[in-house]
C-alpha cells in the first residue's frame, strides 16, 4: 500500500484515479501494476468473481480493470462481476481487459455495462490513457471492438425513419471505421476536422447503442455468435 501514498502525492493537483485490477493471473496483475503510471493508483486486486465483488464494494474505485474470463461465481466471469456490482455502476466504471478477441466475450461484457475494451497486449501508457478516459465518462474502443460494432450494426448509414438506437449515423460510422483502421481519437479528430470531445461523444453514443439496442440484426448477429 506504500505506492498508493506515493502515487497520490506525485499526482499533485489532480488526484490519481483509483483503480481495482481484477485478473486471475497474479503475474499479469503485478506486471500491469508496474506498467500503469502515476496518474493511476491501484487500490485493490482480485482474482476471482467473489473476491472482485467484495473488493469493489469495499473500495468503490473509479475504474475497475476487469478480465473477461474469471474463475469462481456462477461461471459468468467479468459479466457476473459487473452484474453483481450494479449498485455502483453510477460511480464505478468498468474497462474490460482480455486476451480473447472472440466477439462473444467482448460484446457480452460490453452489453453487461463495461465502458470499453482493450486487449492485454496493449502498452502501459495506452492502458493508463484508457483508464483515464473511462474515468472521465468516455468509452474506449479498440480497433477490434470497432470492427465488431461495424459487423453487428452493418456499414450502411441510418435512415431518418430508423429507430435512433438501431443504426449508426453516418458520422458515427466514419468514427468507427477510422478507429477500426487503427486511428487514435486524436487522429480521428484531425481526419474528420472535429474536436476530440466530439469524437468522444460519438464513441459514447455508439457504446450506448451497442448496450441498449435490441435491433433485429444485432440480435441475429449475436445469436449467430451465441451471445444470447
Amino acid at each position: 500500500m506504500n505506492n498508493v501514498e506515493a502515487g497520490s502525492a506525485e499526482a499533485g493537483g489532480a488526484p490519481a484515479v483509483r483503480v481495482v485490477i481484477v485478473d486471475d493471473h497474479a503475474i499479469f496483475r503485478s506486471g500491469l501494476k508496474a506498467d500503469l503510471d502515476a496518474r493511476v493508483t491501484v487500490v485493490g486486486e482480485a482474482g476471482t468473481v467473489e473476491q472482485a465483488m467484495a473488493v469493489i464494494a469495499q473500495t468503490s474505485p473509479e475504474v475497475v480493470l476487469l478480465d473477461v474470463h474469471l474463475p469462481g461465481g456462477l461461471g459468468g466471469g467479468g459479466r457476473e462481476v459487473i452484474a453483481g456490482s450494479a449498485a455502483l455502476l453510477g460511480s464505478t466504471r468498468f474497462l474490460a481487459l482480455s486476451v480473447s478477441d472472440a466477439a462473444e466475450d467482448v460484446v457480452s461484457v460490453i452489453r453487461a455495462g463495461a465502458r470499453g475494451y482493450v486487449t492485454k497486449s496493449i502498452s502501459g501508457a495506452e492502458i493508463t490513457d484508457a483508464v483515464l478516459r473511462v474515468a472521465g465518462g468516455d468509452a474506449v474502443f479498440s480497433p477490434r471492438l470497432a470492427g465488431f460494432v461495424l459487423d453487428a450494426f452493418g456499414t450502411a448509414p441510418a435512415n431518418i425513419a430508423d429507430d435512433e438506437l438501431d443504426r449508426l449515423s453516418a458520422r458515427e460510422l466514419e468514427v468507427m471505421r477510422l478507429i477500426a483502421r487503427g486511428y487514435s481519437y486524436k487522429e480521428v479528430a484531425k481526419e474528420l476536422f472535429i474536436s476530440i470531445k466530439t469524437v468522444e461523444t460519438h464513441v459514447s453514443a455508439v457504446l450506448r447503442k451497442l448496450q441498449l439496442s435490441s435491433r433485429h440484426e444485432l440480435t441475429k448477429w449475436a445469436a449467430e455468435r451465441r451471445l444470447l
Binding site: D101, P143, G147, A156, R181, E187
Partner: protein, 475 residues
C-alpha cells in the same frame, strides 16, 4: 495358418428379411444365405428350436452399424490402428501379433486423438461393406427366388404367407384334422408381438445412429404398444388356459398388480443405472475432447515454449515465436466452424501472418464482412501484402490492417506509425509502391491511395465489386 480363415464378425446384416440374423450368420460362417434360411425354417418346425435360436441371436448379436460404432468407441490404444489396418494380415494367434506392431508404430503414442479417428473407418465401413457384399453375392449367385429383400413388397409377401398359413390351419380344422388352436393362437400372438416390438427396437437404433429425427416417433410407440399388447394377451390366454373372459380379466388384474409392484421396487435401481450410464457416456465424451486438446497443445504450445526457453537470449526471436504461437492458438480456439475457409479475410490474415513472421513487427487485422475469392481479389491480397511489408519494414511498429467488404466492393487499409515519406518523391526504380501496389490495383479496376505524414503512413486500397464495373476490371 492355412486353415485360419479371417471370418467377418458375427453381426446382423442390414440386408434382411426379419432381423438380418440369417444373412449375418451366413456371412460369418461363409455359407449360402439360402441354406441358412431354409435350415432355420426347418429347425423352427422341429418343435420351435429354430425359433428359439433365431430369437436368441436377434437379442444377442448386434447390428453391423452398432458393431462399427462400438469398435469406434473402444478406448484408443496406440497399437489399434496397426492391428486393425486393412492391409495387415490378421495373425491367428493374437498374443504374438500386436507386439511387433506396437514397436513399429511408436509415433502413435503421443497422439491419443489420432487412433480414435483412424479406428472408425478402419473397422466400421470395411466390415459392413464386406458383409453386405458377401451376402449380396451369395444371393445373386445361388438363390434368385429367395431374394425377398430385393422384391418391392417383401414384408407384405411375408404377411401373406403368414395369412395363408393361418387359412390353411383353419381349413385343416374344418376338414377334421385336430389342430390345438388353444395353444397355437397365444403362441402366435406372443411371437408376433415380440417380433413387432423388436423390429421397432432395431429401427430406433438405426435412427439413433443416423440422426435424431423424431419423424415417426409416434408410429414407433404405437407399434411397440401393439407388440406389448399382443404378447401380454398371448401370455394371459396361455396361462389362464381358457378363453373365459372373467378368468382372463382376473389374471390381467393380478399380473398388472404384480408388474406394478415389481416396477416400483426396481425403479430406483433402473434410474440409478441409467444415470450412471449417462454420466459415464458424458465422461467419455469429455475424455475424447481432452485428448484432442492435449494433442493440439502438445504439437503447438509446448513445442513453442520449449523453443522459447532455448532461445531466451534473443528477444526478437522470442517475440516472434510468441506472436506466431498466439496467432495459431487463437485461430484454433476461435475459429468459426460455420464459416467457409479460403475467403478474402482468411487470405488477408494469412498474408498478415506471413509478414509478421518474416519481419517481426505485429500486424493486427480487423475485418468486417467477407467475400469469396476471385482473381481480382487475389490482386487485392497481393497489393495488401506488399503494403504490409512496406509498413512493417519502414514503419517499425505495429501495423494496423482493416478490411471492409460491402456491396460496393472491398477496401483494405494498411496503417503504420513510422516517420512517413512523400509518395511523390519515391524514385522510379522502387518497384514496391509504384508497381506492386498502385499499378496492380489500377490494372484490376481498383484504386490505391497512399497518404503519409510524420505521424505515419496509410495505404488505402479499394476494389469495386464486379457488378459496379463489369468488364473494365479485367482489361
Amino acid at each position: 495358418m492355412t486353415t485360419a480363415i479371417t471370418r467377418p464378425p458375427l453381426v446382423r446384416s442390414s440386408d434382411r428379411v426379419i432381423a438380418g440374423v440369417c444373412a449375418g450368420l451366413a456371412a460369418h460362417l461363409g455359407w449360402p444365405v439360402r441354406m441358412v434360411r431354409i435350415g432355420m425354417v426347418v429347425a423352427a418346425l422341429a418343435g420351435g428350436a429354430g425359433l428359439a435360436f433365431y430369437a436368441w441371436l436377434w437379442i444377442m448379436v448386434p447390428t453391423a452399424d452398432e458393431n462399427a460404432k462400438r469398435n469406434a468407441r473402444r478406448p484408443a490404444s496406440p497399437i489399434a490402428p496397426a492391428v486393425s489396418a486393412p492391409g495387415l494380415p490378421l495373425p491367428p494367434d493374437c498374443g504374438s501379433g500386436p507386439v511387433p506392431a506396437a514397436a513399429a508404430f511408436p509415433a502413435a503414442g503421443p497422439l491419443p486423438g489420432a487412433p480414435l479417428h483412424g479406428m472408425a473407418p478402419g473397422t466400421g465401413p470395411g466390415a459392413a461393406g464386406g458383409l453386405t457384399g458377401g451376402t449380396n453375392g451369395a444371393e445373386a449367385a445361388t438363390a434368385p427366388w429367395f431374394r425377398v429383400r430385393g422384391m418391392p413388397y417383401g414384408k407384405e409377401v411375408l404377411l401373406g404367407a403368414g395369412l395363408l398359413l393361418a387359412g390353411g390351419i383353419l381349413i385343416a380344422r374344418m376338414v377334421g384334422v385336430d389342430v390345438p388352436l388353444g395353444t397355437l393362437i397365444p403362441v402366435a400372438a406372443i411371437l408376433g408381438g415380440a417380433a413387432i416390438a423388436w423390429i421397432q427396437l432395431d429401427e430406433t437404433r438405426r435412427a439413433g445412429l443416423l440422426d435424431k429425427t423424431k419423424a415417426d416417433q409416434a408410429g414407433g410407440w404405437a407399434r411397440l404398444a401393439a407388440g406389448l399388447a399382443l404378447v401380454v394377451a398371448g401370455v394371459l390366454v396361455m396361462v389362464s388356459g381358457s378363453g373365459s373372459w372373467e378368468q382372463t380379466w382376473l389374471a390381467l388384474l393380478a399380473s398388472v398388480a404384480v408388474l406394478g409392484g415389481v416396477a416400483l421396487v426396481l425403479l430406483p435401481w433402473g434410474l440409478k443405472f441409467w444415470r450412471d450410464l449417462e454420466a459415464e457416456r458424458a465422461g467419455r465424451v469429455r475424455a475424447t475432447e481432452r485428448a484432442e486438446i492435449a494433442a493440439h497443445l502438445h504439437d503447438s504450445v509446448l513445442q513453442t515454449l520449449a523453443l522459447i526457453q532455448r532461445r531466451s537470449g534473443n528477444e526478437n526471436d522470442v517475440l516472434r515465436l510468441a506472436r506466431a504461437q498466439e496467432r495459431e492458438l487463437r485461430g484454433w480456439l476461435y475459429r468459426d466452424p460455420g464459416k467457409e475457409a479460403g475467403q478474402l479475410s482468411d487470405r488477408i490474415r494469412a498474408a498478415a501472418a506471413e509478414v509478421e513472421d518474416s519481419l517481426g513487427n505485429a500486424v493486427d487485422v480487423v475485418s468486417v464482412g467477407d467475400t469469396a475469392m476471385t482473381a481480382r481479389h487475389e490482386a487485392l491480397v497481393q497489393a495488401s501484402r506488399e503494403a504490409m511489408v512496406n509498413a512493417s519494414r519502414h514503419g517499425g511498429g505495429t501495423v494496423s490492417v482493416y478490411l471492409e467488404v460491402a456491396d460496393g466492393g472491398a477496401e483494405v487499409y494498411v496503417k503504420d506509425r513510422g516517420p512517413g515519406f512523400d509518395p511523390a518523391s519515391v524514385p522510379e526504380d522502387r518497384m514496391g509502391v509504384r508497381e506492386s501496389i498502385v499499378g496492380r490495383m489500377n490494372r484490376h479496376g481498383g484504386t490505391a491511395v497512399i497518404s503519409s505524414s510524420p505521424d505515419g503512413t496509410e495505404v488505402r486500397l479499394k476494389l469495386p465489386s464486379d457488378a459496379a464495373d463489369n468488364g473494365e476490371g479485367k482489361s
